[in-house]
Amino acid sequence: MNITKNKAFVIVLPLLLCCLFYSSVHATVIKVGNDKTYKTIKEALQQANPGDTIIISKGIYKEGNIVINKPICIIGEDYPVLDAEFKTEVLSVKSSNVVIKYLQIQNSGRSAMVDEAAIKVYDENNIIIEGNKLINNFFGVHLQYASHCIVKNNFIKASQKEEYESANGIHCWKSDSLQIIGNTIYGHRDGIYFEFVKNSVIWRNISQNNLRYGLHFMFSNKNAYITNYFSNNGAGVAVMFSKEVVMMNNTFEENWGDAAYGVLFKELSDCYLSGNKFLRNTTGVFFEGANRVTVENNTFIGNGWGLRLQASCMDNKIERNNFIGNTFDAATNGFLTLNYFNENYWDKYEGYDLNKDGVGDIPFRPLSLFSVIVEKNPPAMLLYRSFMITLLDKSEKILPSLTPENFIDNNPRMKPYTL
């Protein structure tokens, strides 16, 4: 008796489950295309019920502004082109739970009054924007008051020449819990822009050749950006007025110019910078008003200035980094140093290690006299590497008089770290 009951249960349960699932998957698939039921995306959107999927076939759709006002999934087949002909915004998302995938959206309007974007999300949650090509738009993806959104694997490219006629690739404003993953961004004003965004992660993006910053943080606390690649941006990467930002394993390469930095830290506190590579930038990291930032396990190779610590910075820890082949490892503009250097590898270190514990026996002063001179008197750069300057530098190393006394690494490493 018992056994038969059980058997019955075993058979009935899956059936029950199937029914359950079936009832929730009553959503229909609506196709849009030249030879399909609906010729335009707008018609399809009107007819669609919440939870439906709209599949757009290959073709060019010039429908101006399309408003998505119900939870729906929009998927492109072979990248259908949505062209706004420089007149309007393209997709305006005004509903939560929307998915937008595999579309090519191009030529959005260019108004700075209404911030027209290829895809703009207005005060909504749970939006997924994945695998789209956003070409030649004003803003690429624009999220405002959005939360729990995923922007993933999009290719975003613009070709404006001037900053004022161009806007950001991925622009996030007053948002929460975003995931910006695997996007490639070229030629926008800022590659990725965060303002009043929190609890978000930026992971594995490539941001290159943007007019201003590759990544730009303003007033955005408790975020992380990890394993991104930034190169050749007009002014590098800027992290400003923020707290508790984690920056790991990123590469910052060839950001050249007087105001270009691998990373610019301005009014930043309690942040963590680790495992990053700074290659051939004019300045690797620029600290201004930055407090309690930990910089460890980073590599600085071939930069003009590895670190520039302004006197307005306090309690920053610079530990266990590699400094190799930089013109100047460090520079500062004041005499007071309240920051802390320890156990870094400096290729300019000329000390010895008698007890063979891998730590140099005499301290290293990363600040050369000449970097102090150049800080006060930039044209003096022209004299760099002349014999006179080398002599001055050598004597300053032995008897520091012009360089701050406590700008010093007491435990310099003899060998570079393998990072």
Binding site: G304, D347, I373, M381, L382, Y384, M388
Partner: protein, 255 residues
Amino acid sequence: MIRILKYVALDILKNKIVIAYTIMLALFSWSAFGLEDNESKGILTVLNIVLLTVPLVSILFSTIYIYNSNEFVELLVSNPVKRSMVWKALFTGLSISMVAAYWIGVGIPLLIYANFATAIMMLLAGSLLSVIFVSVAFLCSTLTRDKAKGIGISIMLWLYFALLFDGLVLFLFFQFADYPIEKVVVLLSALSPVDLSRILILLRLDVSAMMGYTGAVFQQYFGSSWGLLVSFGLLCLWVFVPFYISLRKFKRKDL
């Protein structure tokens, strides 16, 4: 002229000092690249050789050589050859031997270890510096008949170009720190061949740092192909002018 050149070249070879100089240069640069753990440090050591040793040896050896070959020159002049021909052959012989020593001593390790464009730049700058200081030596030796005085002048000139000049420029920087003097400094640097070649090499070595604000000004002047042409033109002028003055003096000189 070719025949005189041959005599001069043979004489310099017999002298063995140039061979020793070649070996010294080679030792220096091979060890610089072999001992340093990264290539850029090796280049810096070689840069110091180029900026200090090459001018010193070129100017000193040439001055002394010219004074010593006084009798040989007198002998030649008594034959039916033009005076200018003798002087030019002497100059060409010394320049060729100095440049050859530099190419063999420094050039080979440079081409092997360093980045190709940087190596070519250093080779060009070093060769031009060798020739420039040979030419300055010619000027020194025509200024006075007294050998000690002539050598003294040439040492002074070397000190001035290699060490003092930079000090003076640095002094100027501090005195006129409040004024936009970048352009003046660019002009000023043309006054010293050592500085000019140093800047040309610097623009290749420290390219990241030179992209800073003032660096950009210099990059604009020296880094563009036009600027490169002008700088090399200036260096060539440094070869030509001292030698031309010495040639004019030599032509009228009472041997």
